[in-house]
Symmetry: C5
Subunit: 84 residues, 5 copies
Protein backbone atom coordinates (compact mmCIF):
# COMPACT_ATOMS: atom_id res chain seq x y z
CA UNK A 1 0.00 0.00 0.00
CA UNK A 2 0.99 3.64 -0.43
CA UNK A 3 0.83 6.77 1.68
CA UNK A 4 0.43 10.18 0.16
CA UNK A 5 -1.19 13.57 0.56
CA UNK A 6 -4.43 14.72 -1.03
CA UNK A 7 -3.52 17.61 -3.33
CA UNK A 8 -6.60 17.88 -5.51
CA UNK A 9 -9.68 16.38 -7.01
CA UNK A 10 -10.51 15.63 -10.61
CA UNK A 11 -13.78 16.44 -12.33
CA UNK A 12 -14.97 15.05 -15.61
CA UNK A 13 -17.10 12.60 -17.45
CA UNK A 14 -16.49 9.06 -16.37
CA UNK A 15 -18.49 6.61 -18.38
CA UNK A 16 -19.17 3.89 -15.85
CA UNK A 17 -22.09 4.18 -13.42
CA UNK A 18 -19.76 3.18 -10.58
CA UNK A 19 -18.26 6.66 -10.61
CA UNK A 20 -21.55 8.50 -10.11
CA UNK A 21 -21.21 10.41 -6.87
CA UNK A 22 -17.69 9.20 -6.19
CA UNK A 23 -14.89 11.64 -5.48
CA UNK A 24 -11.66 11.08 -7.37
CA UNK A 25 -8.69 12.40 -5.43
CA UNK A 26 -5.21 13.31 -6.62
CA UNK A 27 -2.80 11.83 -4.08
CA UNK A 28 0.85 12.87 -4.17
CA UNK A 29 3.55 10.56 -2.89
CA UNK A 30 6.80 11.64 -1.27
CA UNK A 31 8.73 10.98 -4.45
CA UNK A 32 6.63 13.47 -6.40
CA UNK A 33 4.58 10.95 -8.33
CA UNK A 34 0.87 10.99 -7.86
CA UNK A 35 -1.98 8.58 -8.22
CA UNK A 36 -5.71 9.03 -8.76
CA UNK A 37 -7.77 7.19 -6.15
CA UNK A 38 -11.47 6.93 -5.42
CA UNK A 39 -12.34 8.19 -1.95
CA UNK A 40 -13.98 5.84 0.54
CA UNK A 41 -13.37 7.73 3.79
CA UNK A 42 -14.18 11.40 3.19
CA UNK A 43 -10.57 12.52 2.93
CA UNK A 44 -10.00 16.24 2.48
CA UNK A 45 -7.36 18.58 1.17
CA UNK A 46 -3.87 18.19 2.60
CA UNK A 47 -4.77 15.09 4.58
CA UNK A 48 -2.27 12.25 4.57
CA UNK A 49 -3.95 9.06 3.41
CA UNK A 50 -3.44 5.35 2.91
CA UNK A 51 -4.11 4.19 -0.64
CA UNK A 52 -4.80 0.61 -1.65
CA UNK A 53 -3.68 0.21 -5.26
CA UNK A 54 -5.12 -3.14 -6.27
CA UNK A 55 -8.29 -3.87 -8.20
CA UNK A 56 -9.81 -6.84 -6.42
CA UNK A 57 -9.38 -5.25 -3.01
CA UNK A 58 -10.65 -1.90 -4.25
CA UNK A 59 -13.81 -3.50 -5.59
CA UNK A 60 -14.41 -5.11 -2.20
CA UNK A 61 -14.11 -1.76 -0.43
CA UNK A 62 -16.99 -0.51 -2.55
CA UNK A 63 -18.86 -3.82 -2.42
CA UNK A 64 -19.04 -3.80 -6.20
CA UNK A 65 -17.95 -6.89 -8.09
CA UNK A 66 -17.66 -5.13 -11.43
CA UNK A 67 -16.40 -1.64 -10.63
CA UNK A 68 -13.65 -0.47 -12.97
CA UNK A 69 -11.50 0.77 -10.12
CA UNK A 70 -7.97 0.00 -8.97
CA UNK A 71 -6.95 2.67 -6.46
CA UNK A 72 -8.91 3.67 -3.37
CA UNK A 73 -8.25 5.84 -0.34
CA UNK A 74 -8.92 3.48 2.56
CA UNK A 75 -7.77 5.52 5.54
CA UNK A 76 -6.66 8.81 6.97
CA UNK A 77 -3.26 8.81 8.64
CA UNK A 78 -2.82 10.66 11.90
CA UNK A 79 0.83 9.95 12.56
CA UNK A 80 3.84 8.09 11.30
CA UNK A 81 5.99 6.99 14.19
CA UNK A 82 9.63 6.82 13.30
CA UNK A 83 10.04 3.44 14.92
CA UNK A 84 7.74 0.45 14.72
CA UNK B 1 -5.62 5.08 -11.63
CA UNK B 2 -3.67 7.43 -13.86
CA UNK B 3 -4.32 10.72 -15.60
CA UNK B 4 -2.63 11.62 -18.85
CA UNK B 5 -3.08 13.34 -22.17
CA UNK B 6 -3.93 11.64 -25.45
CA UNK B 7 -0.97 12.23 -27.77
CA UNK B 8 -1.56 9.66 -30.49
CA UNK B 9 -3.11 6.48 -31.69
CA UNK B 10 -1.49 3.25 -32.77
CA UNK B 11 -2.38 1.25 -35.84
CA UNK B 12 -1.39 -2.29 -36.55
CA UNK B 13 -2.30 -5.91 -36.59
CA UNK B 14 -3.58 -7.11 -33.27
CA UNK B 15 -4.31 -10.79 -33.29
CA UNK B 16 -7.22 -11.05 -30.90
CA UNK B 17 -10.79 -10.42 -32.10
CA UNK B 18 -11.34 -8.16 -29.08
CA UNK B 19 -9.31 -5.43 -30.76
CA UNK B 20 -11.42 -5.31 -33.93
CA UNK B 21 -12.83 -1.81 -34.15
CA UNK B 22 -11.19 -0.65 -30.92
CA UNK B 23 -9.04 2.47 -30.84
CA UNK B 24 -5.70 2.18 -29.08
CA UNK B 25 -4.59 5.50 -27.67
CA UNK B 26 -1.14 6.67 -26.64
CA UNK B 27 -1.57 8.45 -23.31
CA UNK B 28 1.29 10.52 -21.94
CA UNK B 29 1.68 11.04 -18.22
CA UNK B 30 3.11 14.15 -16.56
CA UNK B 31 6.40 12.39 -15.92
CA UNK B 32 6.94 11.75 -19.63
CA UNK B 33 6.12 8.05 -19.60
CA UNK B 34 3.26 6.89 -21.70
CA UNK B 35 0.86 4.00 -21.72
CA UNK B 36 -1.23 2.39 -24.45
CA UNK B 37 -4.91 2.18 -23.52
CA UNK B 38 -8.02 1.00 -25.30
CA UNK B 39 -10.58 3.76 -25.66
CA UNK B 40 -14.04 3.33 -24.12
CA UNK B 41 -15.24 6.94 -24.14
CA UNK B 42 -14.42 8.47 -27.52
CA UNK B 43 -11.44 10.46 -26.26
CA UNK B 44 -9.72 12.67 -28.82
CA UNK B 45 -6.36 14.30 -29.38
CA UNK B 46 -5.02 16.45 -26.56
CA UNK B 47 -7.80 15.51 -24.19
CA UNK B 48 -6.87 14.77 -20.60
CA UNK B 49 -8.15 11.35 -19.63
CA UNK B 50 -8.47 8.93 -16.73
CA UNK B 51 -6.88 5.54 -17.39
CA UNK B 52 -7.67 2.38 -15.47
CA UNK B 53 -4.59 0.16 -15.63
CA UNK B 54 -5.85 -3.19 -14.33
CA UNK B 55 -6.95 -6.22 -16.29
CA UNK B 56 -10.01 -7.47 -14.44
CA UNK B 57 -11.55 -4.01 -14.30
CA UNK B 58 -10.66 -3.31 -17.92
CA UNK B 59 -12.40 -6.48 -19.03
CA UNK B 60 -15.53 -5.43 -17.14
CA UNK B 61 -15.57 -2.06 -18.88
CA UNK B 62 -15.79 -3.88 -22.20
CA UNK B 63 -18.09 -6.59 -20.83
CA UNK B 64 -15.69 -9.22 -22.14
CA UNK B 65 -14.52 -11.94 -19.79
CA UNK B 66 -11.61 -12.99 -21.97
CA UNK B 67 -10.31 -9.80 -23.54
CA UNK B 68 -6.52 -9.52 -23.49
CA UNK B 69 -6.59 -5.97 -22.22
CA UNK B 70 -5.15 -4.23 -19.18
CA UNK B 71 -5.39 -0.46 -19.77
CA UNK B 72 -8.52 1.43 -20.72
CA UNK B 73 -9.49 5.08 -20.98
CA UNK B 74 -12.54 5.32 -18.72
CA UNK B 75 -13.18 9.05 -18.63
CA UNK B 76 -12.45 12.49 -19.95
CA UNK B 77 -11.22 15.00 -17.40
CA UNK B 78 -12.60 18.53 -17.48
CA UNK B 79 -10.73 20.02 -14.56
CA UNK B 80 -8.33 19.23 -11.77
CA UNK B 81 -9.08 21.40 -8.78
CA UNK B 82 -6.00 22.18 -6.76
CA UNK B 83 -7.75 21.38 -3.51
CA UNK B 84 -10.04 18.47 -2.75
CA UNK C 1 8.78 -10.14 -3.58
CA UNK C 2 10.68 -7.32 -1.92
CA UNK C 3 13.10 -6.99 0.95
CA UNK C 4 13.32 -3.87 3.06
CA UNK C 5 13.83 -2.55 6.54
CA UNK C 6 11.10 -1.54 9.00
CA UNK C 7 11.54 2.18 9.61
CA UNK C 8 8.22 3.11 11.18
CA UNK C 9 4.59 2.43 11.77
CA UNK C 10 1.54 4.40 10.70
CA UNK C 11 -1.42 5.25 12.89
CA UNK C 12 -4.76 6.49 11.72
CA UNK C 13 -8.33 5.76 10.92
CA UNK C 14 -8.71 2.95 8.46
CA UNK C 15 -12.29 2.37 7.51
CA UNK C 16 -12.36 -1.36 6.93
CA UNK C 17 -12.80 -3.78 9.84
CA UNK C 18 -9.90 -5.84 8.50
CA UNK C 19 -7.47 -3.27 9.82
CA UNK C 20 -8.69 -3.43 13.42
CA UNK C 21 -5.74 -4.52 15.50
CA UNK C 22 -3.40 -4.81 12.54
CA UNK C 23 -0.05 -3.05 12.54
CA UNK C 24 0.83 -1.11 9.41
CA UNK C 25 4.58 -0.91 8.91
CA UNK C 26 6.64 1.48 6.84
CA UNK C 27 9.21 -0.63 5.01
CA UNK C 28 12.10 1.08 3.23
CA UNK C 29 13.78 -0.53 0.26
CA UNK C 30 17.42 -0.17 -0.68
CA UNK C 31 16.61 2.31 -3.41
CA UNK C 32 14.99 4.69 -0.92
CA UNK C 33 11.40 4.01 -1.86
CA UNK C 34 9.12 2.66 0.81
CA UNK C 35 5.97 0.65 0.98
CA UNK C 36 3.26 0.30 3.61
CA UNK C 37 2.66 -3.33 4.57
CA UNK C 38 0.43 -5.05 7.10
CA UNK C 39 2.43 -7.07 9.60
CA UNK C 40 1.83 -10.81 9.90
CA UNK C 41 4.96 -11.85 11.76
CA UNK C 42 5.56 -9.42 14.60
CA UNK C 43 8.34 -7.52 12.85
CA UNK C 44 9.99 -4.75 14.84
CA UNK C 45 11.98 -1.61 14.24
CA UNK C 46 15.07 -1.94 12.09
CA UNK C 47 14.37 -5.55 11.22
CA UNK C 48 14.93 -6.60 7.64
CA UNK C 49 11.79 -8.18 6.25
CA UNK C 50 10.31 -9.95 3.24
CA UNK C 51 7.25 -8.23 1.81
CA UNK C 52 4.72 -9.88 -0.46
CA UNK C 53 3.16 -7.15 -2.61
CA UNK C 54 0.20 -8.87 -4.20
CA UNK C 55 -3.43 -8.76 -3.19
CA UNK C 56 -4.63 -12.32 -3.62
CA UNK C 57 -1.64 -13.75 -1.77
CA UNK C 58 -1.89 -11.12 0.95
CA UNK C 59 -5.53 -11.99 1.58
CA UNK C 60 -4.58 -15.63 1.94
CA UNK C 61 -1.94 -14.80 4.54
CA UNK C 62 -4.69 -13.26 6.65
CA UNK C 63 -7.25 -15.91 5.70
CA UNK C 64 -9.63 -13.17 4.67
CA UNK C 65 -11.26 -13.37 1.26
CA UNK C 66 -12.34 -9.76 1.21
CA UNK C 67 -9.58 -7.84 2.99
CA UNK C 68 -8.60 -4.63 1.21
CA UNK C 69 -4.91 -5.37 1.50
CA UNK C 70 -2.10 -5.73 -1.03
CA UNK C 71 1.21 -5.66 0.86
CA UNK C 72 2.10 -7.86 3.81
CA UNK C 73 5.26 -8.58 5.78
CA UNK C 74 5.57 -12.36 5.54
CA UNK C 75 8.99 -12.98 7.07
CA UNK C 76 11.95 -11.71 9.00
CA UNK C 77 15.28 -11.99 7.23
CA UNK C 78 18.29 -13.15 9.21
CA UNK C 79 20.92 -13.08 6.50
CA UNK C 80 21.47 -12.46 2.83
CA UNK C 81 24.25 -14.68 1.55
CA UNK C 82 26.15 -13.09 -1.29
CA UNK C 83 26.04 -16.28 -3.31
CA UNK C 84 23.11 -18.61 -3.84
CA UNK D 1 -0.35 -1.93 -22.36
CA UNK D 2 3.13 -1.19 -23.63
CA UNK D 3 4.76 -0.61 -26.99
CA UNK D 4 8.35 -1.55 -27.67
CA UNK D 5 10.73 -2.92 -30.23
CA UNK D 6 11.87 -6.53 -30.51
CA UNK D 7 15.63 -6.51 -29.91
CA UNK D 8 16.34 -10.17 -29.24
CA UNK D 9 15.19 -13.56 -28.15
CA UNK D 10 16.14 -15.63 -25.13
CA UNK D 11 17.03 -19.29 -25.16
CA UNK D 12 17.20 -21.54 -22.18
CA UNK D 13 15.60 -24.17 -20.06
CA UNK D 14 12.16 -23.19 -18.91
CA UNK D 15 10.66 -25.77 -16.63
CA UNK D 16 6.99 -25.50 -17.43
CA UNK D 17 5.48 -27.37 -20.40
CA UNK D 18 3.72 -24.18 -21.45
CA UNK D 19 6.99 -22.81 -22.77
CA UNK D 20 7.70 -25.71 -25.10
CA UNK D 21 7.83 -24.29 -28.60
CA UNK D 22 7.14 -20.74 -27.47
CA UNK D 23 9.43 -17.90 -28.47
CA UNK D 24 10.48 -15.53 -25.72
CA UNK D 25 11.22 -12.07 -27.06
CA UNK D 26 13.23 -9.24 -25.55
CA UNK D 27 11.19 -6.08 -26.08
CA UNK D 28 12.81 -2.72 -25.48
CA UNK D 29 10.74 0.28 -24.47
CA UNK D 30 11.47 3.88 -25.40
CA UNK D 31 12.80 4.59 -21.93
CA UNK D 32 15.49 1.92 -22.28
CA UNK D 33 13.88 -0.67 -20.04
CA UNK D 34 12.99 -3.98 -21.54
CA UNK D 35 10.57 -6.76 -20.84
CA UNK D 36 10.51 -10.45 -21.75
CA UNK D 37 7.31 -11.44 -23.50
CA UNK D 38 6.02 -14.64 -25.05
CA UNK D 39 5.27 -14.23 -28.73
CA UNK D 40 1.73 -14.89 -30.01
CA UNK D 41 1.90 -13.16 -33.38
CA UNK D 42 5.14 -14.16 -35.08
CA UNK D 43 6.91 -10.88 -34.38
CA UNK D 44 10.41 -10.53 -35.78
CA UNK D 45 13.55 -8.54 -35.16
CA UNK D 46 13.19 -4.75 -35.06
CA UNK D 47 9.42 -4.89 -35.28
CA UNK D 48 7.46 -2.54 -33.07
CA UNK D 49 4.98 -4.50 -31.00
CA UNK D 50 2.16 -4.17 -28.51
CA UNK D 51 2.76 -6.05 -25.25
CA UNK D 52 0.06 -7.02 -22.79
CA UNK D 53 1.67 -7.24 -19.36
CA UNK D 54 -0.97 -8.94 -17.24
CA UNK D 55 -1.27 -12.56 -16.28
CA UNK D 56 -4.95 -13.34 -16.61
CA UNK D 57 -5.16 -11.74 -20.04
CA UNK D 58 -1.93 -13.39 -21.16
CA UNK D 59 -3.27 -16.81 -20.19
CA UNK D 60 -6.38 -16.16 -22.25
CA UNK D 61 -4.32 -15.28 -25.31
CA UNK D 62 -2.77 -18.73 -25.11
CA UNK D 63 -6.02 -20.40 -24.06
CA UNK D 64 -4.21 -21.91 -21.10
CA UNK D 65 -5.74 -21.54 -17.66
CA UNK D 66 -2.56 -22.45 -15.82
CA UNK D 67 0.28 -21.03 -17.90
CA UNK D 68 2.94 -19.27 -15.81
CA UNK D 69 3.03 -16.27 -18.08
CA UNK D 70 2.47 -12.56 -17.55
CA UNK D 71 3.73 -10.73 -20.66
CA UNK D 72 2.73 -11.51 -24.23
CA UNK D 73 3.24 -9.83 -27.58
CA UNK D 74 -0.31 -9.40 -28.88
CA UNK D 75 0.21 -7.30 -32.00
CA UNK D 76 2.55 -5.77 -34.52
CA UNK D 77 2.38 -2.01 -34.84
CA UNK D 78 2.46 -0.45 -38.29
CA UNK D 79 2.20 3.19 -37.36
CA UNK D 80 1.79 5.57 -34.48
CA UNK D 81 -0.13 8.62 -35.60
CA UNK D 82 0.85 11.71 -33.68
CA UNK D 83 -2.76 12.71 -33.13
CA UNK D 84 -5.63 10.49 -32.12
CA UNK E 1 8.54 -11.34 -17.40
CA UNK E 2 12.00 -10.31 -16.25
CA UNK E 3 15.52 -11.55 -16.75
CA UNK E 4 18.21 -11.12 -14.14
CA UNK E 5 21.18 -12.73 -12.50
CA UNK E 6 21.17 -14.67 -9.24
CA UNK E 7 23.37 -12.72 -6.83
CA UNK E 8 22.40 -14.22 -3.50
CA UNK E 9 19.96 -16.08 -1.33
CA UNK E 10 18.03 -14.91 1.70
CA UNK E 11 17.65 -16.82 4.94
CA UNK E 12 15.15 -16.13 7.63
CA UNK E 13 11.90 -16.96 9.28
CA UNK E 14 9.02 -16.98 6.86
CA UNK E 15 5.75 -17.64 8.58
CA UNK E 16 3.83 -19.51 5.94
CA UNK E 17 4.27 -23.29 5.50
CA UNK E 18 4.63 -22.75 1.75
CA UNK E 19 8.15 -21.46 2.28
CA UNK E 20 9.39 -24.54 4.12
CA UNK E 21 12.21 -25.96 2.04
CA UNK E 22 11.95 -23.29 -0.62
CA UNK E 23 14.98 -21.29 -1.68
CA UNK E 24 14.52 -17.55 -1.93
CA UNK E 25 16.88 -16.03 -4.46
CA UNK E 26 18.04 -12.45 -4.88
CA UNK E 27 17.85 -11.70 -8.60
CA UNK E 28 19.50 -8.54 -9.93
CA UNK E 29 18.21 -6.88 -13.05
CA UNK E 30 20.33 -4.97 -15.57
CA UNK E 31 19.13 -1.64 -14.21
CA UNK E 32 20.48 -2.44 -10.73
CA UNK E 33 17.16 -3.17 -9.09
CA UNK E 34 16.63 -6.60 -7.65
CA UNK E 35 13.74 -8.82 -6.83
CA UNK E 36 13.29 -11.73 -4.43
CA UNK E 37 11.97 -14.84 -6.15
CA UNK E 38 11.24 -18.38 -5.04
CA UNK E 39 13.30 -20.92 -6.95
CA UNK E 40 11.52 -23.62 -8.98
CA UNK E 41 14.37 -24.76 -11.21
CA UNK E 42 17.48 -25.19 -9.07
CA UNK E 43 19.13 -21.98 -10.21
CA UNK E 44 22.58 -21.28 -8.82
CA UNK E 45 24.89 -18.36 -8.22
CA UNK E 46 25.60 -16.11 -11.19
CA UNK E 47 23.12 -17.89 -13.42
CA UNK E 48 20.94 -15.74 -15.63
CA UNK E 49 17.29 -16.56 -15.01
CA UNK E 50 13.76 -15.83 -16.17
CA UNK E 51 11.49 -14.55 -13.41
CA UNK E 52 7.71 -14.58 -13.52
CA UNK E 53 6.47 -11.76 -11.32
CA UNK E 54 2.76 -12.45 -10.99
CA UNK E 55 0.91 -14.14 -8.18
CA UNK E 56 -1.63 -16.34 -9.91
CA UNK E 57 0.96 -17.77 -12.30
CA UNK E 58 3.49 -18.21 -9.50
CA UNK E 59 0.99 -20.22 -7.46
CA UNK E 60 0.38 -22.48 -10.45
CA UNK E 61 4.10 -23.15 -10.83
CA UNK E 62 4.08 -24.51 -7.29
CA UNK E 63 0.69 -26.16 -7.68
CA UNK E 64 -0.46 -24.34 -4.54
CA UNK E 65 -3.71 -22.43 -4.66
CA UNK E 66 -3.00 -20.44 -1.51
CA UNK E 67 0.74 -19.82 -1.51
CA UNK E 68 1.67 -16.26 -0.56
CA UNK E 69 4.09 -15.89 -3.43
CA UNK E 70 4.36 -13.48 -6.35
CA UNK E 71 7.80 -13.93 -7.92
CA UNK E 72 9.29 -17.22 -9.08
CA UNK E 73 12.34 -18.25 -11.05
CA UNK E 74 10.87 -20.31 -13.89
CA UNK E 75 13.88 -20.90 -16.11
CA UNK E 76 17.61 -20.71 -16.64
CA UNK E 77 18.74 -18.68 -19.61
CA UNK E 78 21.53 -20.01 -21.79
CA UNK E 79 21.75 -17.26 -24.33
CA UNK E 80 20.19 -14.02 -25.43
CA UNK E 81 20.44 -13.66 -29.19
CA UNK E 82 20.69 -10.05 -30.27
CA UNK E 83 18.11 -10.56 -32.99
CA UNK E 84 14.83 -12.42 -32.77
Amino acid sequence: MIIGRVIGEIHGTIKHRFYEGKRLLVVEKDNGDYIIAADSVGAGADEQVLVLDEGNGARQVFDSADAPVRSVVVGIIDAVSSRA
